[in-house]
Symmetry: none
Subunit: 236 residues, 2 copies
Amino acid sequence: MAESNAAALRVLVVEDDPVTAEAHAAYVERVDGFHTAGVAHTGHEAIRMLRDTREGRAESFDLILLDVNLPDTTGIELCRSLRAVGIEIDVIAVTAVRDAAVVRSAVSLGIVQYLIKPFGFAAFAEKLTAYRDYHARVATAVVTDQQEVDASFAALRTTSTADLPKGLTRETLDRVRAAVRAAPAGATSATELAAALDLSRVTARRYLEHLADTGVVERASRYGAPGRPEVEYRPR
Amino acid sequence: MAESNAAALRVLVVEDDPVTAEAHAAYVERVDGFHTAGVAHTGHEAIRMLRDTREGRAESFDLILLDVNLPDTTGIELCRSLRAVGIEIDVIAVTAVRDAAVVRSAVSLGIVQYLIKPFGFAAFAEKLTAYRDYHARVATAVVTDQQEVDASFAALRTTSTADLPKGLTRETLDRVRAAVRAAPAGATSATELAAALDLSRVTARRYLEHLADTGVVERASRYGAPGRPEVEYRPR
DNA sequence: CGCGTTGTGTTCATACTGTTCGCGGCACGC
DNA sequence: GCGTGCCGCGAACAGTATGAACACAACGCG
């Protein structure tokens, strides 16, 4: 794909852990239309690379894949510094932090996507392709009307295309996940979940089993009562 | 509406033309959950008000309705100044400029919506309510997972209901919307809607699906009977 | 050690979903 | 007036998410 590489978007990976950085860089290469153009392991290094870029001393970047937790600063702080000096490069935030306040800050600093670690390649590719669509739109359009702007914004909206195994729906899966997380005792059996969600036990079991397979919940047994022991599912 | 005003989002209108500023302020008041908390006519004035706010000398704001063309600066420049000093207030850009580069800049500076002048109240209200949905989500959620984040972003990035994809008619869409809103149980399935409007199920589904994509209605599943569950659409 | 009891794991009928493709009507060009 | 192309709509067809029914497995108890 020489031609798609020629127009490929250049990505700067910013991530302190070398192994993770390498993994992210490899992920980037796997997504069509993207190319890892640099890796930085600290905030300072990232800033320096971007400054060099600006002054024509180095290749430039289209997008930063930015870890929020860095040894010398935070991604949020780094992003603020960039904006302050007028660098308008787009940013995808990558973080293990599950804090709504960080999300708010990130949005206000103009990050285009927000990825929560750990993530698989599917989730990663989804965010990048969404960004590519957005980029293509604003790059080509010279004059814009409200519809064009709306369409560009909509391109950044990801529709959670994470493919489910046959027989499962996203709708139901969401409900099941929510119910498991909100379980009073911290653990739920298939029978209990069925009652709570007004589903059949068979269906409840199907989804719980899927969540167990994908590592979202843990399986355990609950003894004590007469009869066969119950299998309980507990989030982790 | 005392109670809704108490929780209403406080908006700062920044617009040089006094007549337009007044019009925007009035628009804000008309949208449920919003309140015009201040008006500034220049960039300096806006900055001063926000600084006063920060130092506790004045009421604070949740959102700026920011005109891009100001007598003493541009909205983009103003926004950059805010970010530089760490003010994370959300911004809706309002402009007559139809330039993709400005849109890009605006996005990178974290503007949450982008409105092109001239606009009617419907377009205006759509953007504000979308922001309100986003705000409600990130304000309440303490812990977030990827899906929660995606949903929040999706709220900000709704496509306009005005533009129709190929295969849909304005007239039919209006009929469908009206029917969904007037649903007796509050929720309608594609089959029910088809019967009510004397359309085929296929067509009913096409329109409902469009409304779901644009965030006008919500999708849910209706279980209970044996057989595949029904998908029901519910206005929100 | 058999037996009741309780929940598990599976199979299969079922009704709704999602998609494909052809029809019919409308507007435009010749 | 008459093709001709386009486009929104619906009949028909697989596909599939669910629950009823059923056979079995694990435990307590006599």
